[in-house]
């Protein structure tokens, strides 16, 4: 098929506090990578290309057409790059759950930096650190000063640091969705309004979920997935298993549920929901089939870690953002 010749767009991919899965998801386009390369020049992608920060700094502002920023903002380097890329990019996309809502790294907001350091540099079973050495942003050595990015106390989402144009959720995002979005941009289709979530549906998971659902959502106790024998077809909630599907956008192709695991919420909240964890807590609590305070407590005690369960991917992006001390 002959393609209209269009100037290639400039594209960057960066990872902040991330696991790398998002970058892999970009690679997962497989043979479509050729289409991508045909349409775009990758001007920055630390995981794949040897382009230095200073090269980016040298670019004129707004030179990059599209930047996919994945990962949360955990340290000064993340923050610096987020700001830098914002400056250099026309469109900045928060790519993946971490950039979107904090993601799994965001769970660190249940702890302070000190607690994290203590765990990592002291109390882990395999650590020997009798001198209580901690990473320092600057360390003088005879050769000069060694620098390390500063590890922040909090994990932040991308939009808590810079202005974000679009959000492409998922842990990682579905590759097809990425391609769709990418194609929309390169073909110059009309883009959605700024701040939109792209590459996901407005409707929640349940809309796509193949499991049988009814209105009988009354729960006498909650189970973790391994505690019950899943019948493979009934709605998880009706079986007492907490599934964040109703408060999570569709678009992932119900991957977890197809694998008989309840949804954990990586695709983030549907429109108009500022805090999916709060909505889900509300819905889940309403399902408790008890009216007596003590009985209610008992049911709730079967939810091991509510904050971790309801905010697995969204703690930094939630209303309260982090634990306070």
């Amino acid at each position: 098929m002959a393609k209209e010749e269009k100037p290639k767009i400039k594209m960057a991919v960066y990872w902040g506090a991330a696991c790398g899965g998002c970058c892999v998801s970009v690679l997962d386009v497989h043979e479509k990578l050729f289409d991508v390369v045909a349409a775009a020049d990758l001007v920055f992608w630390p995981i794949a290309l040897d382009i230095k920060y200073k090269d980016v700094e040298a670019m004129p502002d707004g030179d990059i057409d599209l930047t996919l920023y994945n990962g949360a903002v955990r340290n000064s380097e993340n923050e610096r790059l987020a700001k830098l890329l914002r400056q250099k990019s026309k469109i900045l996309v928060a790519y993946g759950s971490c950039a979107h809502m904090g993601g799994i790294p965001g769970l660190a907001n249940f702890s302070t930096r000190e607690e994290l350091f203590e765990r990592i540099y002291d109390t882990t079973e395999s650590t020997e650190n009798p001198d209580n050495i901690r990473p320092q942003p600057e360390y003088k050595v005879p050769e000069g000063v060694l620098e390390l990015p500063e590890f922040y106390n909090d994990v932040r989402t991308l939009n808590q640091v810079v202005d974000v144009d679009y959000y492409l959720p998922g842990c990682p995002p579905q590759t097809e969705r990425l391609v769709e979005v990418f194609m929309a941009i390169v073909t110059g289709a009309e883009l959605p309004s700024k701040g939109s979530v792209v590459g996901a549906l407005d409707k929640s998971q349940c809309d796509e979920c193949p499991r049988e659902k009814s209105d009988k959502k009354l729960v006498k106790r909650f189970y973790r997935p391994f505690e019950i024998e899943d019948d493979g077809k009934t709605c998880f909630l009706e079986q007492g298993v907490i599934c964040l599907g109703p408060a999570t956008r569709g678009g992932c192709g119900v991957r977890c549920i197809e694998g008989n695991a309840p949804c954990r919420g990586c695709y983030g909240p549907p429109p108009d929901v500022p805090d999916p964890g709060a909505k889900m807590m509300s819905a889940i609590a309403t399902m408790i089939d008890e009216n007596d305070p003590e009985a209610i407590e008992k049911v709730i005690d079967t939810i091991d870690d509510p904050a971790g369960t309801f905010y697995r991917f969204s703690l930094p992006g939630s209303i309260l953002r982090r634990k306070i001390t």
Partner: protein, 580 residues
């Protein structure tokens, strides 16, 4: 982008009630600086006619589209001001009230603090009203016909009450004749009127009334629709299906007697001369009180509370048995002047008009009242020996004397409890009323709304709601008739405007909301895969809105946005002002 919003804010002095504790002038001045606020004024009495006039004038002059009044409790004057807005041509829901009297000036003592709080409340109201939207009152046309389920005395009374005003009635009876239990009764307590003479003319009136259509041998399967517009299909005895359309439903399906066979102590079914109160009533009607052997009984024992007031059977009191039993004693005394009559009771509950007096009279008629322990120690009836000169003996511990006694009896009348009809659950399901544990229908409010149900347009009257005597049943039947006549008279019924609404583009069909609704207003549309709120049934409590995990349900006039911005307004101002 967002359209411009033009808010007018009015701060009331309420004489000195507010002004004494709140610097109303300052409040108005500060609030006037907020975005979207076009004017902010203070006035002595906002609720007074000149106060309302002021608002109306400003709306027109300044082209206001939203109004905030900061004065007393909205419970007192919200309606007043909404009307004023309406008069000025604004939608009444473009109004918000900040309560700075009941919740500020009357309860606080520091003027500075009170003023600060007042500001934050008004700021919150201004924030909130930014998100208000016009809501239109909705009405539903009422079909003037009424369906009544049950042709007993309650159903008949309701039918006549409405039918006599010239409105259509469909009276559905499952048996082959009207009259219900009253048709089997000889005399009524406490004045011993003839039940026949009461009932027959009423039935005649029903059958002669051209507005009342009676369907005998008919059951109700399913009723569709909502208040004002119900419909159902019935198949009367002749087998031809009929479709009925009606605006209201009265359920008067009555009760059925308890089967005492389940109480071993009483030997009903085994001892031939142990009979139920209904069987005895038949004897009275026929004028022949005889044992199975054909002789007039020398000793008759009447046992109260059979199946009532006992955890093993029904815990509730059946309300009419005491009086019926006393009536039986009187009838027996008349029919068989020399017979020994024993009333075995637990408490005599002769509470109605003329009833205690009836009890007093009865007790003077040489009738032996014996008390037993209904909750723990029921009497036991056994066949007597030949030497006992009676058919049966009833053993129990008599509580008033403390003696263990044996009461001779040739006939034992069991005052059986009244319980829900067998098809009570089906009817409940068909018309959408709830049942309590005893399968009696639940009224909307046990005190202030004893005949309406949580389903608008559906009423429950008479025994099906709990056991009752004739006058109480009739009062209830007429109470339901009143409600229906009122709605028919208006022809329309207003439905709640501040209802919940589902955004079908968002709703994912998880159905979490469906059961949350106490009014069954939410149903699941299988085809679209979304929940649907029936706005006629919705009462606007908003519980579904806070339950919906997808944010698809919006509680009109109490939306997330409105409340969240209200919170924001409340807090931002308070903090700013605290720093001052």
């Amino acid at each position: 982008m967002e359209e411009e919003k033009r808010i007018g804010v009015y701060v009331c002095w309420c004489g000195t009630n507010i002004a004494k504790m709140v610097d109303v002038v300052d409040v108005a001045k500060e609030i006037g600086k907020l975005p979207n606020v076009v004017i902010a004024k203070d006035y002595k009495y906002m609720c007074s006619d000149p106060g309302q006039e002021l608002i109306i004038k400003d709306i027109k002059e300044h082209n206001l589209d939203r109004v905030v009044v900061s004065a007393c409790s909205p419970r007192i004057h919200e309606l007043t001001f909404r009307k004023a807005l309406q008069n000025a041509g604004l939608n009444p829901y473009m109004f918000e009230m900040a309560n700075i009297r009941e919740q500020v000036s009357w309860v606080h003592t520091d003027r500075g603090e009170a003023t600060r709080k007042a500001k934050s409340l008004v700021a919150a109201a201004v924030n909130r009203i930014t998100w208000h939207e016009s809501l239109d009152k909705r009405t539903v046309d009422i079909n003037p016909a009424t369906m009544i389920i049950g042709g007993g005395i309650a159903g008949i009374s309701a039918a006549l009450e409405i039918g006599n005003s010239g409105r259509k009635i469909f009276l559905i009876e499952k048996e082959n004749k009207l009259g219900g239990h009253l048709a089997g009764v000889d005399l009524t307590f406490p004045y011993m009127y003839s039940a026949d003479q009461i009932l027959k003319p009423l039935i005649k009136q029903v059958t002669n009334n051209p507005n009342i259509e009676v369907f005998l041998n008919t059951q109700i399967d399913e009723v569709f629709g909502y208040v004002g517009n119900f419909e159902t299909k019935i198949t009367p005895g002749d087998g031809k299906e009929v479709e009925l359309k009606f605006g209201n439903v009265i359920v008067a399906s009555g009760l059925k007697p308890y089967d005492p066979g389940g109480i071993e102590n009483y030997g009903y079914g085994k001892l031939p001369n142990v009979i139920t109160s209904l069987e005895f009533e038949q004897m009275l009607k026929k004028g022949k009180i005889v044992t199975k052997e054909g002789a007039e009984p020398k000793n008759v024992a009447i046992i109260h509370c059979v199946g009532s007031r006992n955890k093993d059977y029904h815990e509730y009191c059946s309300r009419i048995c005491c009086m019926t039993a006393l009536k039986f004693s009187n009838q027996l005394r008349s029919a068989l002047p020399d017979t020994n009559i024993f009333e075995c009771y637990a408490d005599i509950r002769s509470f109605g008009k003329g009833c205690e007096e009836f009890y007093a009279q009865t007790s003077r008629k040489d009738i032996m009242f014996l008390m037993f322990d209904q909750k723990n120690d029921l009497p036991r009836i056994r066949k007597a020996e030949t030497m006992d000169e009676c058919d049966m003996l009833i053993e129990f511990n008599e509580l008033l004397s403390g003696e263990d006694i044996e009461v001779p009896a040739d006939m034992v009348v069991l005052m059986v409890a009244l319980e829900a009809q067998e098809n009570a659950r089906d009817i409940a399901h068909a018309v959408g009323v709830s049942m309590c544990g005893n399968e009696f229908y639940i009224e909307r409010h046990p005190k202030l709304d004893p005949v309406a149900t949580t389903t608008d347009g559906v009423y429950v009257v008479g025994g099906c709601q709990s056991p009752k005597d004739i006058p109480d049943s009739i009062s209830q039947a007429r109470a339901a008739a009143a409600r229906i006549l009122a709605t028919i008279n208006i022809g329309q019924v207003e439905v709640e405007v501040t209802t919940a609404v589902v955004n079908e583009d968002i709703c994912c069909g998880c159905q979490t909301c469906v059961n949350v609704c106490p009014y069954t207003a939410i149903s699941f549309d299988e085809e679209k895969g979304v929940s649907v709120v029936n706005e006629v049934l919705c009462k606007g409590c908003g519980t579904c809105g806070s339950t919906c995990p997808t944010g698809a349900i919006r509680s009109r006039h109490f939306t997330d946005k409105q409340i969240l911005s209200q919170i924001e307004g409340l807090m931002s101002t308070s903090i700013e002002l605290q720093e001052v």
